[in-house]
């Protein structure tokens, strides 16, 4: 009953708000939405607490596994934890929008709750087609939320690109699902997985189905070259929505790949392609992140980079690496959510999120500044943040399977993204204010007017999320490793869904506190500190000698090239998407 309620409760309250919202006072709407999100958080926490010991499976409508029809909702510990993160982030985002958006009506809250319901349902569902339906629901709600401030041209255009690219991806996923259905006659993840494993042998159909199903999820996860929509959508979406986009929605794409692989395709197809695209995203996202001035866009590119690392962690294919990925995801959700909320605070105080406009104007905002600083350090992997634990555990696991390149990659990604945030902190909160006259483009502050001071209800969620991200690395290693073992076993999942028994693995606990992990964190931190310095040096023309000028010109050309690739042209994005499918297929068949 808990699992259905987790999905149904936000839907019911959302329907109520959509039906009666126009006649309800704003306070009632806020309280109802926040209470619902809190209730869902409690329900998912309860599921998480029960999942390691009692099977958390529901067959909707009473169609048990014996009938061979019906849709299961199942929560293994990792899925429950992800749902819990989702609900907690939604709670924070709704609390933040209490004062934010003072002129909105209940529709915003209704959409946020539907978003929460769709994400929980996507996490829990054990059925391929049902996953597609809720994946589409997530996209539809996300499009509506992205275009929420439809008065702004960039907003609607960003939302449109987002919708088209996501939809193409989702239709390819559905094509893959149809292939699986045609071959196995099953739609349940567990049942289809058992069928394919029993049939043995890979075959072209299995490869094609995996590639096509993964395409939709990789579009959501913003792997290169499917990532173009992400920066467009994040740059224009309202800040509380960005928190959910970056914190969980993108990560749900990674979850989709991981769940589909281990429940259905484990051992039948290689994950090399996912690793390659993920690594490309980690690098490209980090580089683009450094090149941005628009703070929300910068944070969006850093999400691309971090999600790329998550994909590589999943693609390593071992429970140890998955445990590291889980740490990383939890830490990233908290830290990135906090950073977006801090950016939102800047936006409604100064009507701009362009770092060049904001030079020195953050001096009066000590808490926001502290969030930026600590957030940057967390992105660099300072212990005990969840990102530190994730780096450490995943790097160790990657070395074990001979992926020597993973450690430099993750250090580089961490250093560049953290350095970019650090530079923003230096410029905005430590710089000296420039003369009057911004760079033109003012943005809608999303409130009725700019706020004199940031109210506590907007700051508390940011601080709480940051604290959670910082403490995520302290999660006990034993249960995390066990959860990863359960997740990364086809038999454990099939046993849970079809037979209703809980696997109890006994692996070694995950241990982030290793010398190499601490060394990696130190290296990333040092490099991160070097990024603002390097940017400052390259900004001073007199200091540049010949070699430096040459390097600078090459870098400028490269960055112009990169910028021109991210053109906002929907045709480009669709063409890149098909190219990505081809690359994915090539890498999956080759190895």
């Amino acid at each position: 009953m808990i699992l259905q309620t987790t999905v149904a409760l936000p839907v019911l309250v959302a329907a109520l708000l959509a039906a009666a919202g126009r006649w309800l006072p704003r306070l009632a709407v806020d309280v109802a939405a926040i209470a619902t999100a809190a209730a869902v958080t409690a329900l998912t926490a309860l599921t998480l607490a029960r999942a390691p010991h009692h099977p958390q499976v529901v067959w909707l409508g009473g169609w048990g596994p014996g009938t061979g029809v019906g849709i299961p909702l199942a929560a293994d510990p990792l899925a429950a934890a992800l749902a819990c993160v989702t609900a907690a982030l939604t709670l924070a985002a709704l609390a933040f929008s209490w004062r934010y958006f003072s002129e909105i009506q209940a529709i915003f809250h209704a959409l946020m709750l539907l978003f929460l319901a769709s994400m929980c349902a996507f996490v829990y569902t054990g059925d391929l087609f049902d996953a597609f339906v809720f994946f589409e629901l997530m996209s539809v709600v996300a499009i509506a939320l992205t275009g929420y401030r439809s008065e702004e041209p960039a907003t609607v255009h960003g939302a449109l690109n987002f919708g088209v690219v996501q939809s193409i991806g989702a239709y390819l996923t559905l094509t893959g699902i149809a292939l699986v259905y045609g071959r196995t006659g099953e739609l349940g993840l567990a049942a289809a997985g058992r069928h394919l494993a029993a049939a043995g042998g890979a075959g072209a159909l299995v490869t094609a189905a995996f590639v096509l199903i993964c395409t939709g999820y990789l579009v959501k996860a913003a792997a290169v070259p499917f990532h173009f929509w992400l920066a467009d959508a994040h740059a224009v979406a309202p800040t509380p929505v960005c928190v959910l986009f970056s914190g969980v929605m993108v990560e749900l794409g990674v979850y989709g790949v991981a769940r589909t692989y281990w429940a259905v395709f484990a051992g039948l197809v290689p994950l090399t392609a996912i690793a390659v695209l993920g690594a490309a995203a980690a690098l490209l996202g980090a580089v683009m992140c450094v090149l941005q001035h628009h703070i929300k866009r910068m944070l969006a590119y850093s999400t691309i980079s971090h999600t790329g690392l998550l994909l590589v962690g999943v693609a390593a294919g071992t429970p140890e690496a998955l445990a590291g990925t889980a740490y990383y995801l939890a830490g990233h959700a908290g830290v990135k959510g906090a950073l977006f909320l801090a950016a939102g605070a800047l936006l409604n105080r100064h009507e701009s999120v362009d770092a060049r406009d904001l030079r020195g104007r953050g001096r009066g905002m000590p808490v926001t500044g502290a969030v930026f600083l600590v957030g940057a350090l967390c992105l660099a992997g300072v212990p005990p943040s969840g990102l530190f634990a994730g780096h450490s555990v995943a790097e160790h696991a990657a070395l074990k399977i001979g992926w020597w390149w993973f450690m430099p990659l993750s250090i580089a990604a961490a250093a560049l993204t953290a350095g970019a945030v650090l530079r923003v902190w230096l410029v905005v909160f430590r710089g000296t204010p420039a003369g009057a006259g911004g760079r033109g483009g003012r943005e809608d502050p999303e409130t009725s007017g700019t706020l004199r001071s940031i109210p506590w209800i907007m700051l508390t969620p940011a601080v709480a999320l940051l604290a959670a991200g910082l403490a995520a690395g302290l999660m006990p290693g034993g249960p995390v490793a066990d959860a990863a073992h359960v997740f990364a076993g086809r038999d454990a999942y099939a046993g849970l869904v079809l037979d209703g028994h809980v696997a109890r693995p006994h692996g070694p606990p995950a241990d982030p506190w290793t010398p190499s992990g601490l060394g990696g964190a130190a290296a990333a931190l040092l490099l991160a500190l070097a990024v603002p310095a390097a940017r400052r040096a390259s900004g001073r023309p007199r200091a540049a000698h010949a070699a430096g000028r040459l390097a600078g010109r090459a870098a400028a050309a490269a960055s112009a090239r990169l910028h021109s690739l991210h053109s906002g042209h929907i045709g480009d994005y669709a063409a890149w998407l098909t190219a990505g499918v081809a690359v994915l297929a090539l890498l999956t068949t080759r190895s």
Partner: protein, 248 residues
């Protein structure tokens, strides 16, 4: 990217995508084959539950959670369209010109399309009304026809009559309530017999789809028929939805 480069990139990508899809399709059982394990199970369960239309049994009984997701999508899309199209004419009004809705600017193409579609829609509508949930058709198909047919009134009569026929705030509420009812029925009525549950769910879907489509199409009508009156005396901006939805 220049257009030729884009087309080239697409050609390469499409070749790869087509290859992987073809390889997959060749691994499917031959078209029209006899082996459909899930279908056999679904038909068996439908017959056991006493639902003559197996498709309705799958949609509203065996895989009702899919349909729940679909109904939430409809709800989200209708609500989303209301949000996205809410600022209808706010900036137009700012520049002094008043707005009215009228059939004056309906293009010939619109009329032709409407007239071509009218008989088809009516035929289909009659069919849905004549047959219950036991034969092909059901809440969804009926809802679609109801939702669209209302707007063909526009072509027969004039716009004000249509507006009186669809009070948008009420429809929004009705749609959301129907979605909520569907969710409750789908999740809470699992124990009841399918013979009672399927028609009830069918009705909820019909109401929701009908309301959602009237809303969606209505919003587009409002956008399409917004015309400017440059002189005074024209009717002021009259979209009921837009007027109430606009933030102060």
């Amino acid at each position: 990217m220049k257009a030729p480069a884009r087309t080239l990139l697409f050609a390469a990508g499409a070749a790869g995508t087509a290859a992987v899809f073809t390889a997959g399709a060749l691994g499917l059982p031959a078209f029209g084959g006899a082996a459909h394990p899930y279908a056999d199970r679904a038909v068996e369960q439908a017959v056991r539950q006493g639902t003559p239309n197996a498709v309705a049994s799958v949609t509203f009984d065996q895989r009702v959670f899919d349909t729940l997701g679909e109904e939430i999508i409809l709800l989200a899309a209708a609500v989303g369209a209301v949000v996205l199209l809410r600022a209808a004419g706010r900036e137009d009004r700012d520049d002094g010109a008043s707005l009215r809705h009228g059939p004056a600017e309906v293009s010939d193409a619109l009329r032709i399309v409407g007239h071509l579609l009218l008989p088809v829609t009516l035929l289909a509508g009659v069919y849905i009304v004549a047959h219950g949930h036991q034969s092909p058709g059901g809440g969804f198909q009926g809802g679609v026809i109801l939702g669209t047919a209302v707007h063909l009134l526009y072509l027969a009569g004039d716009y004000p009559a249509l507006q009186r026929l669809r009070p948008i705030p009420l429809l929004e509420s009705a749609e959301a309530v129907a979605a909520a009812a569907f969710a409750v029925l789908a999740l809470a009525a699992a124990g009841q017999a399918a013979t009672g549950r399927v028609p009830a769910l069918n009705t909820a879907v019909g109401v929701e789809v009908g309301c959602a489509l009237v809303l969606l199409v209505g919003k587009f009508f409002e956008q399409a028929l917004l015309v400017r009156d440059d002189g005074p005396g024209g009717q002021t901006h009259a979209g009921p939805g837009a007027a109430t939805r606009e933030p102060p």
